[in-house]
């Protein structure tokens, strides 16, 4: 398993990119743009498979070399190449990713940390961390585990993996912190034209979509070939049964009180980080007022984003869908108000 753990200058992949090289020569994924750099990683992987010892490749490219493989300027990448033993339950790397899968199934983000250099390098030890601290494993050094656990929440909220230099009584260590988060699920209420565009674009953005409507002739597979799920029934009950959490965005594009009010009642007291409502400011204010009359607090109501989407002047269904997805990405990356 090859992992891009650090990069400077021009790179085509983000830290965290992975490539798997099989003993029989199979290749899955990529850590760079390909070409000569990935070729070096594949050569190194063949050696790692033979020796069962991991290695950290530091690959520098001068500007000419970078230009040859299509990058705008030179830089360097560090790629950690490690042996994996599929089927071996004692493999610490597989155990760590097992713990990550468990966390994701609980709708929790997790960070897998491993030491890249210093006295603890050269082993596959992993520690798995969540927002609340240690989840599983150890780096074999209690002080390092503790300091790594303190950084993990920042890594989770930053949205990307990174390598950090961490001071310990035994000296400084470079630790690679790999972020894993549940895929974002879009719950789209109202199976109209905007929902159709959202579903198409979401597939490209690697987001799951669940289309919800009470109208069986609208919420059909023919209209939503890219949707992960299509559910027809009482929308508020469907949404409540999905149990929307921190990795869910609820998008109300029915443009009809009949679904908006019941669905908002179901989600405004949940942990959903994004609730968007299609409609003008005036209409949004009317919906908020009705819910305020029912006892929803100003804080709860302030979570409803309306008008929905980034202000890009969208006029068509596809443009509005794009603005909504842009806003969701901005919220996820901490760029939206």
């Amino acid at each position: 398993m090859a992992t891009l753990v650090a990069a400077t200058g021009s790179t085509s992949k983000k830290v965290g990119a992975k490539m798997w090289v099989g003993a029989s020569g199979r290749i899955l994924g990529a850590v760079t743009i390909g070409g000569c750099v990935d070729a070096r990683v594949i050569e190194a992987a063949d050696e790692v498979i033979k020796t069962r010892r991991r290695t950290l490749l530091d690959i520098s490219l001068d500007d000419d070399e970078a230009w040859e493989i299509g990058l705008t300027c030179g830089g360097s990448v560090e790629v950690l190449v490690e042996p994996l033993a599929p089927g071996d339950a004692s493999d610490p790397i597989l155990s760590a990713y097992g713990a990550v899968c468990d966390a994701l199934a609980q709708d929790e983000a997790a960070v897998v940390a491993t030491v890249l250099d210093g006295g603890d390098a050269g082993n596959a030890a992993r520690v798995v961390l969540g927002s609340g601290g240690l989840v599983a494993g150890s780096l074999g050094n209690a002080a390092l585990d503790e300091k790594t656990a303190a950084i993990a929440p920042q890594v989770i909220s930053s949205g990307s993996s990174r390598t950090e230099r961490i001071e310990t009584p035994a000296g400084a260590r470079r630790v690679y912190l790999e972020r894993h988060a549940p895929p974002l699920t879009l719950v789209v209420v109202g199976a109209g034209q905007i929902a159709m565009s959202i579903s198409r674009f979401a597939r490209e953005l690697e987001m799951r979509t669940i289309i919800v409507d009470g109208r069986p002739r609208y919420a059909t597979r023919e209209r939503f070939p890219d949707a992960d799920e299509i559910q027809v029934g009482m929308p508020s009950e469907i949404v409540a049964a999905i149990r929307p959490g921190r990795s869910t965005a609820v998008i109300l594009v029915a443009h009809d009180y009949k679904y908006e009010l019941p669905v908002l009642r179901a989600v405004l007291r949940s942990a959903v980080p994004y609730v968007g409502l299609l409609g003008s400011r005036k209409r949004g204010a009317a919906v908020r007022q009705m819910l305020a009359d029912e006892g929803f607090s100003a804080d709860e109501l302030s979570r409803v984003r309306t008008p929905i989407g980034l202000d890009i002047g969208g006029a068509t269904a596809a443009e509005i869908a794009l603005s909504i997805l842009g806003e969701i990405i901005a919220v996820r990356r901490g760029r939206a108000k």
């Binding site: 009470g214 002739r217 029934g233 009482m234 009950e237 009180y257 009949k258 679904y259 669905v263």
Partner: protein, 125 residues
């Protein structure tokens, strides 16, 4: 504001009997498939008399108001009498002339209630 609008808005904003019944004897869901109104009516029946009613609705203002009014209207009514209620009763309950295009919104809750009563396995008397 017309009497129709007054009644409808009052029952939409303060619906009676909204929510699920614990230990309902019958539960029936109804929908207007093109407009998307969805209603579930639940009843408790004792010795052939409707003693308690509840409804859940992801539905328009008129439909929610009609569900509130109809579930109030049938409380204490014999099931055989409820089964015979005509659509005109629902239209009358919402307080005025319902535009033709909205009649299904006003009658959906009563239609669902009639089907609920018909689905009861309990003896009527």
């Amino acid at each position: 504001m017309s009497a129709y609008r007054d009644v409808v808005l009052e029952h939409f904003r303060h619906p009676r009997n909204r929510g699920s019944l614990v230990m309902a004897d019958v539960s029936m869901e109804g929908a207007n498939p093109l407009c998307g109104d969805r209603v579930r009516v639940e009843l408790r029946v004792v010795d052939g008399t409707i003693t308690d009613t509840g409804f859940t609705a992801d539905a328009c203002v008129l439909c929610v108001a009609a569900a509130s009014l109809v579930t109030e209207h049938v409380r204490g009514m014999r099931t055989e009498e409820a089964r015979e209620l005509s659509d005109a009763v629902a239209l009358q309950l919402v307080g005025g002339t319902v535009p033709p295009a909205r009649k299904r919104c006003a009658t959906l809750p009563l239609d669902t209630l009639r089907r609920a009563v018909a689905g009861l396995r309990l003896p009527d008397r």
